[in-house]
């Protein structure tokens, strides 16, 4: 089934952004943009989330936090890097404490451009990520099936 596409739950984390993208992510939830139309909810809890929305680049302190949150999300999951900072570090690329985009740490599926990214493009990015989410779900299911076959006595060697 394709329930995943109809009910993606977000988790937003501000890695080291200037707030511009963050408030635009929030603005998506509010009456003008209202992403709940598409079933999108901001959960605030990695264990419930499907889509990890990261803004801002990686620095020393949040490195482990991002990885930790990513690991606590159940499969299938996608990462959307919102804003130019999350993609490459953006204007802060050369700052003393920034080591670049999110993709150094975790696999990013969709990059949303902009400084700050506009709500329209953020929504677009998330909708794009849903296709990938669906693909990942199918892969996950196949993996599980293979594992199952591997375990059953007639299913070949382990």
């Amino acid at each position: 089934m394709t329930y995943l596409k109809k009910s993606p739950w977000l988790l937003h984390y501000d890695a080291s952004s200037c707030n511009g993208c963050d408030i635009e992510v929030l603005a998506c939830l509010t009456p003008l943009y209202d992403v709940e139309r598409f079933g999108i909810i901001n959960t605030g809890n990695p264990k419930h989330a499907d889509v990890f929305v990261v803004t801002g680049g990686v620095n020393e302190q949040n490195r482990e936090v991002i990885r930790n949150i990513y690991e606590q999300m159940p499969e299938p999951k996608v990462v959307v890097a919102v804003g130019i900072c999350a993609a490459s570090g953006g204007v802060f690329r050369e700052c003393s404490n920034i080591s670049g985009g999110i993709d150094q740490l975790i696999p990013v599926d969709v990059y949303v451009p902009g400084c700050a990214a506009r709500p329209e493009s953020i929504i677009d990015g998330i909708v794009k990520s849903l296709e990938i989410l669906e693909e990942k779900r199918i892969q996950m299911k196949e993996r599980a099936k293979q594992k199952e076959q591997g375990r059953s006595p007639g299913g070949g060697e382990r």
């Binding site: 620095n59 020393e60 302190q61 050369e94 003393s96 404490n97 080591s99």
Partner: protein, 126 residues
């Protein structure tokens, strides 16, 4: 626009506490503390304000010197002092809340202490 007048006095390190106490007694509030590297020295500025009178005092210390905390006089000063320690490596004695270098963890320790690039020239390549 009416530009405001700003006073800046460079004082001796030894007089710091006395001066700050003076400001406190006069009812000034602490606006800011900031550190700047100037050559082989740190300039540390303390800014105070009372009824739109904005005054600064400055001490100049060698890179490895330590200064005494004013957090006993202005309780909130610890946040500046910890920050100064984490970014510049200035040692501050006697802070009321000492984060021991954990207020801001940086990739390079004391990242503001040693400017990596300065002056004219291409800046896009790291």
């Amino acid at each position: 626009m009416k530009p405001e007048n700003q006073e800046l006095r460079v004082i001796d390190t030894a007089h710091l506490i006395g001066e700050v106490e003076d400001y406190r007694n006069k009812g000034y509030r602490l606006v800011n503390m900031s550190c700047t590297r100037a050559g082989e020295e740190f300039e540390i500025s303390y800014s105070f304000e009372l009824d739109l009178r904005f005054e600064n005092i400055r001490i100049i210390i060698p890179l490895d010197a330590d200064i005494s905390s004013i957090s006993g006089i202005y309780w909130g000063a610890f946040i500046y002092e910890n920050e100064m320690h984490d970014l510049f490596g200035v040692h501050v004695r006697g802070m009321n809340i000492d984060f021991k270098g954990n207020l801001i963890r940086t990739t390079v320790p004391y990242s503001f202490r040693n400017p990596s690039f300065r002056g004219e020239g291409p800046c896009q390549d790291r």
